[in-house]
Symmetry: C2
Subunit: 316 residues, 2 copies
């Protein structure tokens, strides 16, 4: 049976949205004697809810599906048999919280100074700079909180998920890539240097999404390697396409400011390779991702295949 | 034998400093093709090393000692028998990294806008605002990374430590307290509201330090409750004394800007209770902390007793 990626995504996204909503609210202090934590929670909710493609949660869930012994319609399952699905949802939402916090901090005046995100004013525009700083900090902590004892998964899995997420978020991952990005304004990078920057800045968390989904099951070394290569390829492809869209799409379609890389004098795949070669490179990475899945020996990779194609062929 | 708290602290602090140094460096990306991650690591090191009383790591280690079956001279032990001590050191350093990141972000212009910390220019003065933002973000991630699989402790312990740390750092802990603090500038708080703010802002992480140390051993419910009450009392006492020192000490002694709470029109224990009643309240909290230790049924609480007295009777 052919995969209906749209239906698959819609069913899981509904669960992801509901879970994010519940968990961000649940992070409020028990006693709210005055308004400030309520304001913090409001900023966190604003940063996380009603927006985004949720690519990372979908990758977690699809990777988990690929290593699961049997296919179960988890998104449609009743509350009573949701044990393993809740664990996967927690992993999916944890990655999304890290992604959301990084956007909040990236948009701040001392970083990209952006006022538009997902078609709405950015968090610091709406809640002030201090509010945005704290909301981002609290979202990062909440991501790790989601993965701990209440998660209903074996402790070894919790620890493994925390480890994957922490490494992908930190100085050897996303934050490190951001630092290279900051230092690269107005600098002519080689293609290798650009790849290194993006591997850290966006690739690390996308790859971690895949590996966190895989960590929810038991897999062979070959499957582990296959998913790792798949994650690396789509992580890079995502950024190449982002760079292409930054010059070819408009702000309304993107829901964020278009053309900002060029106006900030940042090196991009388009500035280094040109448009045509960038598009060809994205297709080459898609082929690499699909090959890695075939070599993984895993049988249920339809959804991962579909997500890879979606990453490369998206228009916003 | 009477406890020599100075010698105990000196021995452990040497290990903590060495461990922090090693772990912050180890967080660098493997391939440093250009300078930016090096700059990020430099900012992280600047924020963490050569400064601070390291109260939180000492609380972790003292609490661990209190629940350990036998007293071992871990700080003096050779590398080969350091397994459990390394686990405790990781917990100790993880808490310190969260504390260090919070100081970096608190000092930023959009928060307290402070230029002096531990007698040195603050991180954003030295590395720019974006550098400080990223260094803080990366330090938070590193804290959780320290607690994961390589830590050489059972997975259930890792998960428990991550949970305690994440809750204490997030919106129901430190970040939530910061948000109340921000919203309280120029607002007249009751003593109850002030206590609630400080329970979250500084108390949560100090209490978590004690509970993380305790989580490294097996303890009774009574001991658990006793250490929880001890942690709550010294957490609050720390802040009361901080508020007292803010008006009675000078910037050189404190290593940070004195009198800034009053100049920022922030509510403090001194502004709410006055100096004399604040000092009496700190002593009352010390008595509560010592009583909680006696009620815990734990035998090796000398160091925790000494640290409580140090918190209340410190002059900087």
């Amino acid at each position: 049976m052919a995969l209906d990626l749209g239906a698959w995504s819609a069913a899981h996204l509904q669960q992801v949205e509901r879970a994010l909503d519940g968990w961000v609210c649940a992070s409020a202090p028990v006693s709210l004697e005055h308004g400030a934590p309520a304001e913090l929670i409001a900023a966190m909710r604003y940063a996380v809810l009603d927006g985004g493609k949720r690519l990372r949660p979908l990758l977690v869930l699809a990777a988990w599906e690929s290593v699961s012994a049997e296919l179960v319609d988890w998104a449609g399952a009743g509350a009573s048999d949701r044990g393993p699905y809740e664990a996967a949802l927690r992993a999916a939402c944890a990655v999304e919280l890290i992604h959301a916090y990084s956007l909040v901090h990236d948009d701040m005046p001392c970083m990209d100074n952006d006022v538009l995100r997902r078609g709405k004013p950015t968090v610091h525009v709406k809640f002030g700079e201090a509010g945005a700083l704290l909301a981002g900090d609290a979202l990062q902590a909440l991501a790790f909180e989601l993965l701990t004892p209440e998660a209903g998964m074996p402790a070894a899995q919790q620890a493994r998920l925390c480890s994957l997420l922490a490494r992908a978020a930190g100085s050897a991952g996303m934050a490190g890539g951001q630092a290279i990005d900051l230092a690269s304004v107005g600098v002519a990078l080689t293609e290798d240097q650009l790849r290194q920057m993006h591997r850290l800045k966006t690739g690390a968390l996308l790859q971690a999404s895949v590996m966190m989904g895989a960590a929810l099951g038991e897999i062979s070394d070959a499957a582990q390697r296959g998913l790792q290569d798949y994650g690396a390829a789509i992580g890079l492809a995502f950024q190449v396409v982002d760079d292409i869209l930054d010059v070819t799409a408009d702000s309304v379609t993107l829901g964020k400011t278009a053309g900002k890389d060029a106006s900030h004098d940042k090196p991009t795949y388009v500035s280094v390779l040109g448009l045509e070669r960038s598009a060809a490179y994205a297709q080459k990475l898609l082929a690499q991702a699909l090959l890695a899945l075939r070599q993984s020996g895993l049988h249920q990779t339809q959804t991962l295949q579909g997500l890879a194609a979606m990453v490369v062929n998206r228009v916003s």
